[in-house]
């Protein structure tokens, strides 16, 4: 019987080992020598990623770029000390060089005698099966890629004559990774990733406004059909056109209705980062020691789910060879779980959740989110808006940040309106929402039934990884909104 995880591993071994005159035995030798001078854990991570990017500007596709990135990272962990080195060469010589360099970085005081601990690695069992083995381009050639960008340009310009600029980009990425670890792990993954992004400028009476939208995930380009393209166009153009009419956002404390999809970035910032195991291990999170406590209103259930089929943040296995999984973080308002990587899980004596991720072979793994979202509730979105006497309706956001130690977060609305007497009225600009993570979720008073995911990039300690965020429409009370209006 053959598991998909076995096929993926075989493919990864072909691409990263066989093609470079390497084999599993050489990987085992490298791991044995990696922790020969001591250490609790070590791993070797091999990666090859290719990416091509096509750009449309002023109606023409005039620029394209191709990049290939490959290499090996070697890590030794002793307690919570990590030594790390990497090489952009994949060869037997490179394995020897990076293991030697990592050992040289190992802090002094280790037993200098080579203890010769052997390592035997074996394929892990099932992985998350969140996406299949495929090439992201799926056989689509240049002409078809260019045609997608042209379609976006045509559709956007057709929306309204006030749309004066359209820029679009299409990126197709294929990544093959292989992890061998001293705990016996051997796992591989073939990760497709496509991303289509669009930005437009609208101009009227010398006022200019911009709007953008992006979509994609771990699926084939051909699956990005015309309905999906149309949706990107609608979003980007509506943001720009709405902002042409926008008045300065009011400032002060108020009730806010957040739209579904990307506004879930609030959860990502307000609680997601604060529930990453490495921050807990170092006692830096505002949520430290709150497991089991009520941190959100009843009905609030937040999960991190790497198994969503084809989603941008999905992972068959994480970058430490642990199967991707669904982890409930908040259940009906109670904090029930943390996300963990191998190192933090071991030190905290918690279970691994498949959240160990790294930007590339040249970066160290950390606890990272995958697809993080708030589950749907009972309310019709229209009912939620109608329930607000005066407040704002924030439909789209450009992003946000959090200080995980104090819990203070902020995020910026890209498209928002006033709500007056239960009705959506004037568009507003420059609304920045701020709050404290462990308080804000207690103020969620209504949860919609329209959960949707949005795509994003998540940055932490200088490393960027693809993620999804998401939520249904929600009502949140007592939010501080900053803006230049009175």
């Amino acid at each position: 019987m053959s598991f998909p995880s076995v096929d993926r591993l075989a493919r990864a071994q072909d691409t990263l080992l066989v093609a470079n005159d390497l084999d599993t035995a050489k990987l085992q030798d490298g791991l044995s020598s990696l922790w020969a001078r001591g250490g609790d854990y070590g791993d070797l991570y091999l990666e090859m990623t290719t990416r091509d990017t096509w750009s449309l500007e002023r109606g023409k596709v005039t620029r394209a770029a191709f990049a290939i990135s490959q290499g090996i990272g070697a890590r030794i962990v002793t307690g919570d000390k990590t030594a790390f080195a990497y090489s952009s060469d994949i060869s037997g010589k490179a394995i020897d060089a990076v293991t030697a360099a990592a050992r040289a970085m190992q802090s002094h005081g280790q037993d200098a005698a080579e203890s010769g601990r052997g390592v035997r690695i074996e394929a892990i069992g099932q992985d998350a099966q969140a996406y299949g083995i495929m090439h992201a381009a799926g056989g689509m050639d240049t002409i078809e890629k260019v045609a997608i960008l042209r379609t976006l340009d045509d559709l956007a310009r057709a929306v309204d004559p006030r749309i004066t600029e359209v820029n679009a980009q299409l990126a197709v990425e294929d990544s093959t990774i292989l992890v061998g670890a001293t705990d016996g792990t051997l796992a591989g993954d073939i990760r497709p990733q496509i991303r289509i992004s669009l930005s437009v400028v609208a101009e009227s009476n010398a006022k200019r406004a911009s709007g953008s939208a992006g979509g994609g995930g771990r699926f084939m380009l051909a699956e990005f059909g015309s309905d999906r393209l149309q949706k990107l166009v609608e979003k980007a153009t509506s943001v720009a056109l709405t902002n042409l009419e926008a008045i300065p956002s009011p400032a002060g404390e108020m009730t806010v209705v957040l739209g579904n999809g990307f506004p879930g970035v609030l959860l990502h910032e307000a609680v997601g980062h604060g529930l990453e195991g490495d921050f807990h291990r170092r006692q830096e999170s505002v949520f430290n020691g709150m497991i089991g406590q009520r941190i959100a209103a009843p009905g609030v259930t937040v999960v991190d789910d790497a198994t969503v089929p084809g989603a941008r943040g999905s992972l068959n296995i994480d970058d430490e060879g642990v199967a991707g999984q669904r982890t409930v973080l908040i259940e009906d308002g109670y904090l029930v779980g943390l996300m963990q990587d191998k190192i933090s899980a071991r030190i905290m004596n918690d279970k691994m959740t498949g959240n160990g991720r790294r930007q590339s072979y040249a970066d160290l793994p950390m606890t990272r989110m995958t697809n993080t979202f708030l589950e749907s509730g009972p309310y019709d979105p229209a009912e939620i808006i109608a329930s607000v006497k005066n407040g704002i309706y924030a439909v789209e956001f450009s992003g946000g940040t959090v200080d995980i130690t104090s819990g203070q977060f902020n995020f910026s609305a890209e498209k928002a309106f006033l709500i007056e007497d239960g009705k959506v009225t004037a568009p507003i600009e420059g609304a920045t929402l701020i709050g404290v993570g462990n308080e804000a979720l207690k103020h969620i008073s209504m949860i919609g039934n329209d959960l949707e995911l949005g795509i994003g990039f998540c940055g932490k300690n200088g490393q960027t990884v693809p993620v999804s965020v998401g939520q249904p429409t929600i009502r949140m009370d007592h939010v501080v909104v900053g803006g230049a209006g009175a």
Binding site: E57, A65, A67, I68, N243
Partner: protein, 466 residues
């Protein structure tokens, strides 16, 4: 923080310690030249090859022990080919001849399938940096992991021993030393290279009072080891940043004058410069289209760009297209006198490249009104009663409209004296008015990356809180 004078240490150049790099400038130049030869041989109309190598050691410590010790070493080659206005780019992390052959073919293959942009082409031959002088930027330390660990531990020690009634701990203290080389060749026959170094020390702290936790951080960056702030000062400063904000209260919604602390003020300089890039000007995604000759700020302000500052953090003898920049005014007496242009954007705007392909160089915002003793104390007295803004957490600026809104933190000041730390509010305004309203610039100059600026006094901002 005091203004740090840069100095050219001739002694340091005479006897150079070992670099972390494995290749010489000549090795990188060879790889770049080979990529150009291949491109020309395959019929490319024009080509630019950029090759870089970086290497170093980075160590972080916490609780008196090493947390991460990383040996960095990376290299890459990027080729850009122009085929009658069609631009193909490809990059590789291998510099082997076969890898270069492959990326050159890839770039040319891609370019041929595109549509032409008549303004996409090689830089103007006359603008290339054929003769500009070398700039001193290379100061390798060859510091070992042990030496860097000792530096990081000294920083941590200074932070945790900065005692008050509240506890202070270090979430991460770090030290790194990195070297880098860069070579650029073009199908004009241009080929030059340079090397640089960067020393970095940093500290992130957490101060605690009961359940309340606050973060603080401080860092020092210089190309030369001797230019870094002392370890003790970095640790103490990072601890104070966190300790001083314990007990912060919210601010109620109001209008007030704001003094933007010098380390934070660089973000406003960046927002100003973002209006003046070729892309912003060409796409008119700016509140100041056709900026050249227009008023952008208060008339006492001048912004200077200097690509050639010895050991400057944003120095470069030439840009990513081989074009030489020059020391020039970007804003003089409040009026825009220069833009940041690469070749393509310059052609689109019917102007000349300013040598800014790949970014802005060292920038310095100065005011005619600044007196030598306008230190932070003097600036707080000028503020009188208002907000001393010491932290911007995030938010949005809309370049097209100038709408500015940021989550922030700092101290409430009355009659020039600190009353209490404040947080949980936003500041908002419009950049168009904010730049023009700047009423004073402090002599407390801080360098953040390539930007030098003192604290900035904004007489009237909207604050939103509880």
């Amino acid at each position: 923080m005091s203004a740090r004078k840069h100095f050219q240490s001739v002694e340091a150049l005479d006897e150079q310690p070992t670099t972390y790099l494995l290749q010489s400038e000549a090795d990188l130049a060879d790889a770049a030249s080979y990529a150009i030869e291949r491109s020309v041989a395959l019929g490319a109309g024009g080509a630019v090859a950029r090759v870089s190598e970086g290497g170093g050691i980075s160590v972080t410590v916490a609780r008196g022990e090493v947390e991460n010790a990383v040996r960095d070493g990376n290299q890459s080659l990027q080729i850009t080919v122009f085929e009658d206005g069609r631009t193909g780019m490809a990059s590789s992390e291998s510099l082997s001849r076969s890898a270069i052959d492959r990326v050159v073919e890839q770039a040319i293959g891609m370019a041929r399938q595109l549509e032409p942009d008549p303004d996409a082409c090689l830089a103007d031959r006359d603008l290339l940096a054929w003769t500009t002088p070398e700039i001193a930027m290379f100061a390798p330390t060859g510091q070992s992991a042990q030496a860097l660990t000792d530096a990081a531990l000294a920083i941590e020690h200074a932070a945790v021993t900065t005692s008050t009634a509240d506890s202070s701990r270090v979430s991460e203290a770090g030290a790194s030393s990195q070297d880098m080389r860069f070579a650029l060749a073009t199908s004009h026959g241009f080929c030059r290279s340079w090397s640089s170094s960067a020393q970095h020390r940093w500290c992130q702290t957490i101060a605690q009072r009961g359940d309340e936790m606050k973060q603080g951080s401080w860092s020092s960056v210089d190309r030369q080891l001797g230019g870094l702030e002392p370890e003790e000062a970095i640790g103490r400063r990072a601890a104070r940043k966190a300790l001083d904000t314990l007990g912060a209260e919210s601010l109620s919604t109001r209008r007030a004058p704001v003094l933007v602390d010098a380390p934070v003020a660089s973000s406003l300089v960046r927002a100003l410069c973002a209006q003046l890039t070729g892309t912003a000007q060409f796409q008119r995604m700016t509140f100041l289209p056709d900026a050249q000759g227009q008023v952008i700020s208060a008339s006492h302000l001048t912004l200077v760009e200097d690509p050639f500052e010895p050991f400057g953090l944003a120095s470069a003898p030439f840009d990513e297209e081989g074009v030489a920049g020059e020391r020039r005014d970007i804003v003089r007496d409040g009026v825009v006198t220069g833009l940041f242009l690469d070749t393509r954007m310059a052609r689109k705007l019917r102007m000349q490249s300013t040598g800014n392909a790949g970014g802005m160089r060292n920038l310095s915002l100065v005011s005619k009104g600044t007196l030598p003793d306008d230190d932070i104390g003097a600036m707080l007295r000028k503020l009188g009663t208002g907000l001393w803004l010491t932290r911007i957490m995030g938010g949005a600026t809309n370049p097209a409209t100038g709408v500015y809104s940021q989550a922030a933190g700092g101290f409430w000041i009355e009659n020039g004296e600190i009353v209490r730390p404040v947080h949980g509010f936003t500041i908002a305004g419009n950049l168009q008015e904010m730049f023009k309203s700047i009423s004073a610039v402090g002599a407390d100059i801080h360098r953040s990356g390539g930007i030098r600026v003192g604290s900035l006094l904004l007489p009237d901002m909207q604050i939103a809180g509880r």
